[in-house]
Amino acid sequence: MNEHVMHERHWSTHKERGSLFLMRLTAFCVRIFGRRLLAPVLYLIVLYFFVSARSARRNIRQYQTYLADWSGRDALRPTLGRVFGQFIAFADNLLDRLDVWRGRLRFEQVQLIDPSGVRPRLLRSQQGGRGEILVVTHLGNPDVCRAMAELGEQVPLNVLVHNRHVAQFNRLLGEAGDRSMRLIQVSELDTAMMMDLSQRLERGEWLAIAGDRVPLHDGRRVTVDFLGHPAAFPQGPWLLAGLLRCPVNLLCCLKVEGRYRIYLDHFLDAAHWERGQRDATIHAWVQRYADHLARQCLIAPQQWFNFYAYWQPAPLEEVRDAN
């Protein structure tokens, strides 16, 4: 049992295997063949991924086991069919993402669940309000940020990403005619980047950043309980929020009964810590975030698209670096 825990590759070394390559390939094919013809091809590719990627199968099985244990719902316990179902959900997700990027999935088709009124604040930042942070997740469809940009009408949305393919993604976005959304590569927080982001907030722009993936070279991570087991989450979004002293909201987009739902939840009024309590404060935020994420997993159990080993305890060295 130990060998596969020890030697899992980090997600970012997969080079967005499931994402960028398939994205470009499918983008090309959809243009040529259309979605209806493409879907079977994509299912075949995903079938191949399912058969060949033993570790991905094992990781999904682990996720399903933890989710079933944590929720006490035996119906979620992994079977071969349910694990495969999650891969198929990923294929559907890719097709949907293409629709989003091509502007086929319109805002009107998306159901908005916004009990705390995040959208009104988004719109208000057009009239001189300060921007805020959206923490997004790889549960469901993260590309819905695009629809989010539409939600905000003219409010610029800056999506902070870790990978080096930003230029390509921006080109894809440009092809899709998107002007209000911009990707910014952030490999680590430094003074110039902080200043730039701070100025964007002051101008009323919003920042989106993933809260559920730990960057490879950044030791700033925090281990909390997720679905009953310790998992590492990035500190980055929370450090950013605390340094910029801005409100934090959570964004998650799930497909429920064939329709997309955007869940917006207000999370922090103004992120702030007492200096001596910084680590404890961030830990508490991340634990609350992980609990929120766990509840959302139950809404769409098969849309967890982190195929790498999620529950990898942080090596001691990194824990020490982070402190």
Binding site: T191, A192, M193, M194, S198
Partner: protein, 86 residues
């Protein structure tokens, strides 16, 4: 301690909310990080942000000197002065 040094020491106290520290506790040559005042890398970011806003200067992150500027209040004051004169 000159006026700018005093101002920066106060800015450090206010920004980082160092409750039990006064300007007199931060002599210009006291190391700010590690032993000395005991700041860390997140404090440095917070401080850099505050300095950039207060003095309308830019701190390039890739500059090798950036670290050097942040070692003491005296160095920070010299840096801010140089940026203002630039």
């Amino acid at each position: 301690m000159n006026a700018l040094q005093q101002e920066i020491a106060q800015l450090i106290i206010d920004t980082l909310n160092l409750e039990d520290v006064t300007v007199e506790d931060i002599p210009p040559t006291l190391p700010l990080f590690g032993e000395g005042l005991g700041l860390d890398s997140v404090d440095a970011l917070e401080l850099a942000l505050a300095l950039q806003k207060r003095y309308d200067i830019r701190i390039a992150s890739d500059s090798k000197d950036a670290r050097q500027h942040f070692t003491t209040v005296a160095n920070l004051a010299a840096f801010v002065q140089a940026q203002r004169n630039a």
